[in-house]
Subunit: 342 residues, 4 copies
């Protein structure tokens, strides 16, 4: 049984880790910390866990985790980078669900996150935890940078096109629609029910932090890759729908078969039949990224539609998938939940 | 043209006053204050008002209102009571959309609102601004206490039964369902989109501040009136649905005709045909309280279903209806908007 | 491995049975029928099941089920009663998720369902499948009548009060709020998104088919039990919130401890601490019925708040719980999913 | 007072016409027809109109409209084309809210709408009712083709760029998000609450009927214009958010001032300040199209964000704006409603 710690467990990725790990056959949460809720029973804050989780939130303290095999950081950005070194030194493996170790080029990270990186020496070591790209490296990693929610959906949509050089790499547009849980569990007017429901808006059109992350990973596939990325806030809790456009190179034509073949053995990527349109609800609560690829002949463009649950494949589920790889377990352990329709 | 001031204009009742007054033929907002947003253009905070409202929020200061004929308090509870005296002395008439002057029995008010009343001498003078009960008194009032959202829907549902002594006055149960805008425009986790949507809950079952308000008004109709009041939070922005139960007295039987007659001349109360079920959306954005009354013969009980838009008839619309009465205007001026379906 | 058949699998209870059974360790769906979708892959209609379910819908035909140990009827009312006899004769055990066998008094059933009962002789044999009441009888049953969604939430809320004679049995009011999935997966204007969202309404105030079902079961606990039952349609997919009122008998006082004791060993009933307010979302996707019981001293009334997922504990989950009992399995097998928050 | 008829008044554009015209100072609905609801009171089907509209739906018959000055077709596609000739001959002016007269090239229309055009000779005469493009022609028109909802938002977003030759005309991508009311008031599973809420999907990626309409109008501005158009279904009632991408020509740079100037005198187009992000809710119930234009320097692309209420500026409101022009009224008459926030 893997002994797990969660740092910063009061947010949506924290409770989602708890929900998924409550059913994991080989892992057990030993400690969960929160500065603000120390002493509160986890199941008091999240009553869906009543009867399943007896833990209380404890104050964050390095020695809390000493018996853990693995610690998840479900903290805001810039927290993990201050604690990672010490925990690694204690022999604990780490998965950061925030952004501290996702971008290899530290000055870029510092520009977008408005902070000096506290631990640049670990950035190079960290493995970007997208199993479909980095499965082998994840198995051996001490420190995994769990991908952002938008990047997961956009990158998975593009891998087969980029690795096969089928698109003009600078023509990519990713128009993304995200449920509000992506904004976290915070007291803010802007994410209030009455502000979000029955409305749609774009935000951060001039630049969102997930843009350099996506770009950097795409450039590992094609050095010329670049994109326009437009996030939109949706009146729903969970789900990301990425609509990704790119110009075909040399009129490459339909790629249905190529996508099916590329992802055939991936347990958590589902390529739908030609002409399909995935719905975010089909993956609600599940770790699947479901996609459909369209080739528009008149425009000679590809449109890839890719959906995921931003809290599962876009966060906690992918983190557990990475944990499974790191500890030699079946990659799908604890991740069998079926998308909830309706 | 009536010159209007709004104190505390950044909440949902504030913006709703602005929306409705922007179309009022005989009133004009001269000043709107906000401590936190002083200097910000109103239309920047509320872009629905772009092109219609040129005002900026100004710092609250008594002399701001000196040219006003009327001031609306769209402030939190316990604000109006500290400023009412001075404004009245300056000859300005007042409508408080909060609770400071709703309950005549000051110790009861102090118990439920957890504060010492700053201005008990004005409580007696204040008129409870439910036109269907107090139309004449409102016309002459200097100070109107605008009713709470729940009380409006529950009291209107019960008046014909109580004044005709048709129910056991202590048997009333008001099971109420409110949209989330009733909780105001605040930064809080509990009213966040992801917390509210796709869920329903009761709250304050052991006692809500609108209980003593409802009880006190009902007792002016029947001294023995008492009730159980259970508010529930609904995953919608606007709307209150009151489901009000009471035991018939002496098997009084159907009262459809009685309700129709009682409210026939009321411009903002609509009694539906026998057997109907009103929907909150039918009054979205309108000042109408729509109701249907059912008599259950087997149980010898009445069930009255009453719906309103909590921000209009339950707050800003009713306040303007009161203003119209106070200034001798057509009671319906500026309140002609039709409910928005769908 | 129990071999399962599902008749009428294209509705919401059908897909929910598929979702839950896809993860059941000891049951396997062998056949699923649909008149309208015969030949279509189940996963084409319900893409959440892609990669998990290879079945196609087949035409309903009695010999389809000959290898099944158990058949679920996920059909509209009045279907199961025409096929039950033949299937039982073939040695197949049955769980009807519709209403054909829920009401023992056949004339009452016929009045409310507007049909002549095709199989009255089996009504007496059928066991009402509420494990918390009838666990032993369910174990031995050939034919289980799975309870309605509203009845499950209301009855569970009242059992401890009624069996302990703590309430006036004719004073019960059940004000219930249901998500729209309770109306089924049908093409109708009334359940359209634009008709339902951002609105609340009561319906069937003069009488709903679940009323005689609830009443009949309550009367097995207290022969004088009677109630007013008011269903309301909520703008959410899943969840029922029952707010149940009853007058205390002899000022019986608080019953927190009594509820906790009564349900302590029930795997799927959770009594919250005193003063709590359950949210429907806390049981979304889970088989738990969660409740809180309030005693209002001033009114000498009880208010019980009870929430469930209408598609799980209110339908498919409870059906699987019954299956587990009928086949001697762990009662909780396949039902471990945690409520999805957010 | 203009005498108005509405043909096919039971859909969402029909009720929206009724809602808006109920407050119009110079127009009055004399007759409203419906094949399915003939004899039903309009206010019974749409209770928001109770007390305001006394009309009943009548059977469609040509002589019903003989006293009308204007008839709106709020019918499905292919209805208006069969009746237009006769009504025009009777001296009645027409506005078709469906698509029969929007596309000048009849074979294109016939290909996309799968029907033979019943009245091609009127297609040439019909004026495309986008006042911002065709104001003068609309004033004199007998027959106005009211634009589609998506086309209105996309075309208005692009006019200043196209007429000033600032973009590569074949590079346009319009990624559009529409509320569900755009699908009409129909009994269908796909638009059911439980199918739509808490989910997002693209549809008709390979080609939507609004594509040829948009393309044809854009080509009147730049003959080389072409686009990819991707509609998405949103879990909200009202609102379209168009996110329109285009490559700058010759690195044309920022165009904020150009947009502001271009639309300065338009009563129903609002250009937000640089850097803004419009929300669909800011125009809920109003006739405004609100937009913000971003220039992405790194990508040398424009991103125009444009929002409207699909039932108002995208349908019934724009139709009334056209009526106002046709009859020499103030263009804004009856269209003063402020967007409803929250």
């Amino acid at each position: 049984m893997i002994k797990v710690g969660i740092i910063g467990g009061t947010g949506y990725t924290g409770v989602e880790l708890m929900r998924l790990l409550a059913q994991h056959p080989h892992a057990r949460v030993e400690v969960i910390t929160s500065r603000s809720e120390a002493g509160t029973a986890v199941a008091e804050l999240f009553p869906n866990l009543r009867g399943l989780v007896d833990l209380k939130f404890s104050k964050p303290a390095v020695d809390s985790y000493q018996d853990c095999d693995l610690v998840f950081f479900a903290t805001p950005n810039t927290t993990a980078m201050t604690q990672a070194k010490e925990l690694l030194a204690a022999g604990i493996r780490l998965i950061d669900l925030a952004a501290d170790f996702r971008i290899k080029h530290v000055p870029t990270w510092e520009e977008w996150y408005g902070a000096t990186h506290a631990c640049p020496q670990l950035v190079a070591e960290a493995v970007y935890g997208l199993p479909e790209l980095n499965r082998e490296a994840i198995r051996g990693a001490r420190l995994v940078a769990n991908p952002g929610c938008y990047p997961t959906s956009v990158i998975l949509a593009l891998i087969p096109l980029l690795v096969n050089r089928l698109i003009e790499p600078e023509s990519i547009i990713a128009d993304c629609k995200s449920g509000t849980s992506g904004a976290g569990r915070n007291a803010s007017i802007g994410t209030g029910f009455c502000e979000v429901t029955e409305s749609v808006k774009a935000y951060a059109v001039s630049g969102h932090r997930h843009l350099p992350e996506i770009k950097a990973i795409l450039q590992t596939l094609d050095a010329d890759a670049d994109l326009v990325f437009t996030p939109h806030l949706m009146p729903m809790i969970r789900g990301i729908h990425a609509t990704v456009y790119a110009n075909a190179r040399n009129s490459a034509g339909p790629v249905q078969r190529l996508y099916e073949d590329y992802y055939r053995s991936e347990p958590f990527v589902d390529v739908m039949p030609a002409g399909a349109h995935p719905e975010t609800r089909s993956v609600r609560g599940s770790n699947v990224c479901r996609m459909a690829v369209h080739y528009l002949e008149a425009a000679d463009k590809y449109v890839v539609l890719s959906v995921e649950d931003n809290l599962v494949k876009g966060a906690a589920g992918q983190a557990i998938q990475n944990m499974n790889l790191m500890f030699g377990l079946d990659e799908t352990a604890g991740l069998g939940a079926v998308g909830m329709m309706p």
